[in-house]
Structure formats: structure tokens, C-alpha cells
Symmetry: C2
Subunit: 196 residues, 2 copies
């Protein structure tokens, strides 16, 4: 490609980006959902926490499904002032008791509600929340109410597969992580520091 | 759903997960690609860095497109011992000069090659590398060779839209981030600490 055609193409790109930046002037916290079956939902949420606290913002993390594994992100972020509330029973397919899982979930949800009503928090991550709704451990209305009445400048990230469509409708930004391929399927072992 | 049906369903899920874990026994570094037009590619890469260093692993970051914006992740991760090499011209649609962009890209690539040949690094992030290939700033063969001859236990993450199919074929794990909706399109301003 010649330099002039290259410049022209780049200028069009720049104009498009500039116009979109110009048009977007509403300032408020947003609801982001990372869903789909692909890898990267929880990691994208933690990447955003990393970015937020790097900018001096306050973030908190609620993990609805996270087991007895140790957790690299937590070890890095907790000393940086990011509180973690992790549901006590861990992976629900390990515990397999609807009653105790529901209780554990509701207890964890209390922490979530507290963060969602605290204007000190710029960012709240509700990791793997989608399963709590689809398993009926958590009432959808209760979740949407807490999200809708949160502080105006607070952003929230929800992660998990098969997100309920009411939550998708409520969200400002939704990315579906689509698995194209996964090392696991080729027989490669999940690795500490990469996969968990 | 009754408790027994619930247990049965959960047991099936657990069996499936256990079988996959059992089957996956190869231990080596993997190549992960986060591509697609949706939000979360770079953030998922940084989330993985966060996880890796939380586990005491060594990670390095090469950013091929990152402008004059300040960068929250860098402020958090660099003091934790994660080196950042950022291409000097920033966003290519700001600079619009193919020759200087190519030179800047090749200079940045030298740092990438150095990390890709250093077995001390458990994880190398090549952020926005895909554009360097599609703009022909960087030779595809050069990239694939460096990736293929990297240390066996080193994992690499490549991010960016429209990833070249040769790189997708080379990858172990590929996630396409599909945009379902974006706050930007609803007129909401990009926010420091969330979007950048």
C-alpha cells in the first residue's frame, strides 16, 4: 500500500474514533457483563480491577464460585486494598447441596449488597454471579434492584456463562467470550499462574 | 428442582470436569489469543499477568499500540517487577506514517524477541500484536518463528482484533471477544480506571 493510501485509511479510522469519542459524553458508572463459554471472563474482570486500582480507584470483589484453589489475583490485589468476599462452599459441583449452597450464596450476596450501596467503591466485581441466578440460589429481582439503586458513578462487572437476559438488558457493555479452541481439549494440563 | 435431581445434575457436571482434568496431562507453556471486536481482550491479558505474578511467576508486557494515555495496569504492575515495553508512537491512527510506525514496531519487536527467548519469563503478553501483522509492520514468519522457538514452559498471550489465521492455528487457546453491546454506543463516555 502506498503512503498516501495508508494515510487516507488511517485518517478515516482516526476520524471515526474521534467522532465516537466526541459523541460519548454521558458520565456515569456502567454495568459490564463478560459472559459466554470462552476463557477470559474472570481474567478480564480482574484486569479491570488492576487498571482501576492502578488509577487510584477503589474496587471490591465478590466471588460466587471459587473453590479451595489458591488464587493468584487475590494474593496480588488484597494487599493493594481490594477486599475479597469468597463464597464459602466453593465450586457448587463439588458440594452438591442445594440448601447449603443457597445459604452460602445468600450470605455472600449480603457482602455484594453492601458494596453495591457504598459510594466509596468505584468498581465492584460480581464474579460468577450468573450461575447463582440460573441455579435459583439468588432472586433475579433482588439482583436487578441492587444494581439499579447503586451509586451513580459505580461500575459493576458481572461474569459467568449463560447470563440471564434481564441482566443483559440492564447492562451497558456486554462481551461474549466465545471459545474458538482450548488447550485443555488438546490434553494440556491447566497451569497455576495461567489458568488459575 | 428436587434435591436428588439437583445432586444428579451436579454429579454429572463434576464427573465431566474431573474426566477432563484427568485427561489433560501435558505440561508446557501455552499460546493464548484474545481476539474479536469486543471489550476485554487487553484486560483479560492483564488479568492473567495479575494472576501469574500473584503466584510468584515472572511476566513481561509488550504493548504495540498504546498511546499517550496513562495506563492504570502499568502503574500497578511495574512496581511489582513486570517490565513494560511500549511502542513509542502510540496509536497508529494518530501518527499515520507507515515508515516511522514500521520502525517503531520493529524496535518494540526486539524487546518482544528478547522476552520470548528468556526462560526466566513464565508469561509474555504481546498486546495488540495482531495489528502489526495485518498492517505489515511486522513479518508473520518472524513472529511465528519466535513463538515456536520460545522456552517450553513459557506462556504467551497475544491480543488484538482480526488475528491472522496462521497465529490462530499456532495457538493453544483462542477466545473471540464478541461485542454484544457497548456503553460507548449509548453515548457513555470512556472512563479512566474502567476503559483505560
Amino acid at each position: 500500500m502506498s503512503q498516501s493510501r495508508h494515510e487516507e485509511r488511517q485518517q478515516r479510522l482516526k476520524d471515526k474514533v474521534d467522532a465516537r469519542i466526541e459523541a460519548a459524553q454521558i458520565e456515569r458508572g456502567i454495568l459490564i457483563i463478560f459472559t459466554g463459554n470462552g476463557k477470559g471472563k474472570t481474567t478480564a474482570a480482574f484486569g479491570t480491577v488492576c487498571r482501576a486500582i492502578g488509577h487510584g480507584k477503589k474496587a471490591g470483589v465478590i466471588q460466587f464460585i471459587k473453590g479451595s484453589w489458591d488464587n493468584g489475583e487475590r494474593e496480588l490485589l488484597e494487599p493493594q486494598g481490594v477486599p475479597f468476599y469468597v463464597m464459602s462452599t466453593g465450586f457448587t459441583w463439588e458440594t452438591q447441596n442445594k440448601e447449603t449452597d443457597t445459604l452460602a450464596c445468600l450470605e455472600t450476596w449480603q457482602h455484594a449488597k453492601q458494596l453495591l450501596s457504598d459510594p466509596q467503591y468505584d468498581l465492584v466485581v460480581l464474579d460468577e454471579l450468573t450461575y447463582m441466578v440460573s441455579y435459583h440460589y439468588l432472586d433475579l429481582n433482588e439482583v436487578t434492584q441492587a444494581l439499579q439503586s447503586r451509586p451513580e458513578n459505580q461500575s459493576v462487572i458481572i461474569t459467568g456463562r449463560a447470563c440471564h437476559r434481564f441482566l443483559l438488558e440492564l447492562a451497558d457493555t456486554v462481551t461474549e467470550m466465545r471459545p474458538i479452541k482450548h488447550a485443555f481439549d488438546a490434553g494440556i494440563k491447566a497451569q497455576k499462574g495461567i489458568d488459575w
